[in-house]
């Protein structure tokens, strides 16, 4: 029993213990006597207590039979020996009278209302037994025009009850401050920005306002709060690695809306424009609905059997003539764990090669590798929830408010509440604007700045000597190497202020809990893996590892990129990260798969391209990855694909890569399949089929399994549950995972046999035993060395909030109405030199290729740096990006490409049309 004295308060005469999470009388009462006992209108558990509606009023006495006082329970703390009365006649009358007042200014048209039977006002009024009011001709806010100007949101203020939940959600959850309450008293009302139309406002379409609105005053085009649906299916988002839990509303076997379930651990009832609203791609007319075989340069429709037979014949020909290593597979981090597992099994066991890779190669392979070298486990050390326990955030090369919006919003909220923030980024991102220390370094100098930080921490004697002694090895050498760093030189190459770096380093080292997050701005560099290992150093020498609110936390890009690597979709390690070159592991896999496991590590994606061009690789099977649009140097990728004898592409749309395929197989979206995704914090979560696959398509796991069977491999008919059981038998950290145990919230690996999961890694010791401190000197990128003279600007690419990677999905939703092109950001000085103004069209080019883009002149980018996104195949920005690769993992160096920009045309250019009857003068 706890030594602390238990504190008791009384609810309607009965004693209950006050728990630590009982921050208000309302929470205390709800936890013991149920949700319904005390009604609420303005309260939302995800928002701070507000105390506006007063229907949660209760009576409180400070002693038994003492005098009572009416208080709003939502914002009144519960205290020892309080006697709380929840529902006597006085209170019922009070609540009734308040709700009656609300009804005086509310259209009583429930039957035709969008949220009929899912309206909090309706529920509260019904529970209190009132359906009308007694006031004579009250003035009402009626006939306010509906605001339909937004692509997703809808505002119908006739139905607004002024609870302020939307305003608070916009402020407290998303942090956008778009919605406000203007005016006061009876005339107070909701507005967006300064009385702008919703669609013209700075709204980021996260939908938090619609989600929390208790009526239909704010809703969305999908009517996501309508109760007129057949069922709701809980599943996991297939965009970024945050892994938001979603709830799809289904009507007539169609997904009509998506919202978040109330209880979620990952996303706390929040999600973003992509997760909530950009689902329309799933049954878009562009969906591929039949297998296609290219004959004489043209795609012809085929049956599944014809396609499988064709592939089988070609695959067998290739492997017979050239050996199994002439074939390779690229799996999809968008697909489920089960699908990734069977795919790598097909490539390894049914084809017989280790050449299977996935898009982690071009995103976080340096993170996985670097963290394996230093800690032993290549995954986030902590949980997203730890954001609430950190005192300082170090965000390196990541723009989470765009790319991981829910996590980004959480960090932003904490920073607005006063937590410290250090941002290392060449771009002034939304978080960088709020940062205490924004170190606006030149792309390609992460190692330089991290060495500076390490140096300042050591010099200031702010390292954690106990942690270093007990938990790490290699400190003496580390110290020597760090001390000899030439700080002035490093500051110069990075283009940063030495003092600022010093202050940031001291802040990181001295905060109680410092939590690190990084994105592809760390990994997509020639020194990507080295940067990751220096970040690990930073965490280790300051002891910021192995407890709540600290750690090294990659923000994984794809919904299941963690899972794809866990499942063995990488050429050097099989399922569960066992090295394939190790004899012991080969024996293990051979026993499990029932066929001899290949021994030679396979090709990484960039090596596949080289091998294809060199005619060593003859066949490639790609699932859901548009390498032509997204891998660097598109011309090179196209050449590689065109060199193949067989290219099988499993896709949902005719992507740029699918266009080059020999055979196209129509797969399905996440809404049409069962399985699991593993998010950025190692949380394995269930994906539940919401609707049946579109006619003509098959879930990707089914396709792969049928192909395995066609190839004569003994693989049982695809069933996600059965495959998960097979994975649990092979992957040690999946040991205790079953579909039932995953439940609603999922489990964070490693999961022990008894089902216990792991929120924080490396609490007692590292997987490697002791953490390994490593040193690396900064080195100029070879791209800059080779090309900077001719191409003096540095291009760095990223994403916008509204689109996702190749935008295959988001372009096929209304998000295209919000952002429909890639725009080049350029610093005012660089723009002036080139006579460029915002809106002009510029030619962005390198030795590899060129694209024409609209220009935006802004000091968001550092001088000498240009920035754009790579979402649109109309632009194909990757025609320009280079060959640079991380030295250890071959992750592409997207963040540093030497380029030049030249003006093409003026924004005000007017086309002079010759008049029809005017004779041409020659």
């Amino acid at each position: 029993m706890s030594s602390e004295k238990r504190k008791i308060a009384y609810i309607d005469g009965k004693p209950y213990e006050i728990g630590t999470n009982h921050t208000s009388i309302l929470k205390f009462v709800k936890s013991y006597v149920g949700e319904k006992k005390v009604p609420t209108l303005c309260d939302d558990p995800n928002l701070a207590p507000y105390g506006a509606c007063r229907v949660c009023s209760v009576e409180v006495a400070l002693e038994k039979d003492g005098p009572t006082k009416v208080v709003a329970s939502c914002h009144t703390p519960v205290a020892e020996n309080q006697h709380i009365f929840t529902s006597n006649q006085n209170l019922q009358d009070l609540r009734k009278n308040i709700v009656e007042l609300v009804l005086t200014d509310h259209p009583m048209e429930c039957n035709t209302c969008e949220v009929n039977n899912n309206c909090e006002l309706q529920t509260v009024a019904n529970d209190l037994g009132i359906s009308d009011h007694r006031y004579n001709s009250p003035k009402q806010h009626k006939g306010i025009p509906r605001d339909t100007s937004h692509d997703y949101m809808r505002m119908n203020l006739d139905n607004c009850i002024n609870c302020g939940r939307c305003v608070r959600a916009c402020d407290e959850i998303q942090g956008s401050f778009v919605l406000t309450m203007s005016g006061r008293g009876f005339e107070s009302r909701i507005t967006t920005d300064n009385d702008m139309m919703f669609g013209d406002s700075s709204c980021v379409s996260c939908g938090a306002c619609a989600h929390t609105c208790p009526t239909d005053a704010i809703s969305d085009v999908f009517q996501s709060k309508s109760a007129a649906v057949d069922k709701k299916v809980r599943t996991t988002c297939s965009y970024c690695g945050v892994g938001c839990n979603l709830e799809a509303s289904i009507k007539d076997d169609k997904v009509v809306a998506i919202d978040t379930p109330k209880e979620t651990e990952v996303n706390a009832g929040h999600t973003c424009i992509k997760g909530r609203y950009a689902f329309g791609f799933y049954d878009h007319p562009d969906r591929l609905k039949t297998p296609l075989i290219k004959r004489n340069g043209k795609f012809e429709e085929a049956t599944w059997d014809e396609a499988y037979d064709f592939i089988k014949k070609e695959m067998q020909r290739i492997t017979k003539d050239h050996g199994p290593d002439a074939f390779a597979g690229i799996s999809s981090a968008r697909c489920t764990n089960e699908e990734n597992y069977v795919f790598q099994k097909m490539i390894r066991a049914a084809v017989g090669t280790n050449s299977v890779d996935c898009c982690a190669r071009i995103c976080h392979s340096p993170t996985a590798w670097g963290m394996q070298q230093t800690f032993g486990t290549g995954a986030a050390t902590n949980s997203t929830e730890d954001i609430y326990h950190a005192d300082l955030f170090l965000v390196i090369g990541a723009n989470p408010t765009n790319a991981h919006p829910v996590t980004g919003a959480k960090i932003k909220q904490q920073v607005m509440k006063g937590k410290k923030l250090i941002v290392l980024d060449p771009i002034t991102t939304e978080l960088a604007k709020l940062a205490d220390y924004h170190i606006k370094l030149r792309p390609g100098t992460n190692v330089a700045v991290l060495n500076m930080m390490l140096h300042f921490i050591i010099k200031s004697k702010l390292y954690n000597a106990d942690f270093v002694r007990d938990r790490t090895e290699g400190f003496d050498n580390f110290l020597k190497e760090i001390e000899r760093q030439d700080i002035d030189q490093l500051a110069k190459v990075a283009g940063v202020d030495k003092q600022l770096v010093k202050e940031a380093a001291i802040a990181y080292a001295t905060a109680k809990n410092s939590m690190e997050f990084h994105g592809l701005g760390v990994t997509e560099h020639e020194q990507g893996s080295k940067t990751v290992m220096l970040i690990a150093d930073l965490a280790m020498i300051t002891g910021n590892i192995g407890r709540k609110g600290v750690g090294v936390n990659p923000l994984r890009g794809q919904n299941n990129v963690q899972g794809a690597a866990d499942m063995g979709c990488q050429p050097h390690q099989g399922a569960g990260y066992f090295e394939v070159a190790d004899k012991k592991n080969q024996k293990f896999y051979t026993e499990k798969y029932g066929v001899t496991h290949p021994t030679k590590p396979g090709l990484k994606i960039p090596q596949m391209f080289e091998a294809a061009i060199n005619k060593e690789l003859k066949g490639v099977w790609i699932i859901g990855e548009d390498i032509v649009q997204t891998d660097p140097n598109s011309a090179h990728v196209i050449e590689a694909m065109n060199s193949l004898e067989l290219l099988v592409v499993q896709e949902i749309f005719m992507s740029e890569t699918a266009k080059l395929a020999t055979v196209v197989l129509p797969g399905t979206t996440f809404l049409e399949k069962d399985g699991t995704f593993t998010n950025t914090e190692r949380r394995v979560q269930r994906v539940n089929r919401a609707v049946p696959p579109l006619p003509g398509t098959k879930p990707d796991g089914v396709i792969v399994t049928e192909m395995m069977q066609k190839l004569g491999f003994d693989q049982p008919t695809y069933d996600a549950n059965q495959v998960l059981a097979e994975i649990a038998d092979i992957v040690p950290f999946f040991k205790g995972i079953t579909r039932e145990r995953l439940g609603k919230m999922g489990l964070q690996w490693p999961v022990k046999e008894d089902g216990t999961d792991t929120q924080i890694l490396h609490t007692e010791e590292f997987k490697l035993g002791k953490g390994r401190l490593k040193n690396f000197d900064w080195k100029e990128s070879s791209e800059i060395e080779a090309n900077h003279k001719d191409y003096p600007l540095i291009l760095t690419t990223s994403r916008v909030l509204q689109h996702y990677n190749a935008a295959t999905m988001t372009r096929r939703t209304s998000n295209i109405n919000i952002v429909d092109e890639d725009v080049l950001l350029i610093h005012p000085k660089d723009a002036a030199y080139r006579d460029l103004n915002t809106g002009d069209i510029g030619r962005l080019y390198s030795g590899r290729g060129e694209v024409a883009l609209k220009v935006e002149v802004t000091d968001k980018v550092k001088e000498g740096i240009v920035f754009t996104t790579f979402h649109f195949p109309e632009h194909m920005v990757n025609m320009v990006t280079g060959h640079g690769k991380d030295e250890e993992t071959m992750c592409a160096e997207y963040k540093v490409s030497s380029v030049q920009v030249q003006k093409i045309s003026n924004q005000f250019k007017t086309e002079i049309q010759p008049k029809e009857n005017q004779a041409e003068v020659s």
Partner: protein, 135 residues
């Protein structure tokens, strides 16, 4: 006594009161800021209550429901009584006053029922013709 957020004290009660907060509140009045406003006998109490509701409706911030809606609905009730378009529903008025007194977030709209209740108690007879008992 005490402005709009004070009490309306009939002359015959004045001698029983000391000028302190406790005594005023124990007798059901409110001392407020302790200024004295004398209401002439020929000034309609309906008009005075209208003024009180109008004051709180004007000054209400709009955050809490009973304050925002209650003071406005009270004002409307007395608008209608003044214009003789409707009589004051006494039962509903009393419920409204209790709702505001107990439910409001702050002392602005939460205190305005006190002077109104004083008037109904001590000067209710004057307003009989403007009222209906049931509603």
């Amino acid at each position: 006594m005490g402005g709009p957020l004070g009490g309306v004290v009939p002359l015959n009660e004045i001698d029983n009161l000391n000028l302190d907060f406790q005594e005023f509140s124990s007798k059901g009045f409110m001392l407020g800021h302790a200024s004295v406003v004398s209401i002439p006998k020929d000034f309609s109490m309906t008009e005075y209550i209208h003024h009180l509701f109008e004051f709180s409706a004007e000054e209400s911030c709009g955050k809490c429901f009973p304050g925002r809606l209650g003071s406005y609905r009270g004002k409307e009730m007395f608008d209608q009584a003044k214009k003789k378009t409707a009589k004051i529903p006494l039962k509903l008025l009393n419920e409204l006053l209790v709702t505001m007194q107990k439910g409001c977030l702050c002392a602005l709209c939460g205190a305005i029922p006190t002077p109104i209740m004083n008037i109904l108690k001590y000067f209710g007879d004057e307003m009989k013709s403007d009222m209906v008992k049931d509603n």
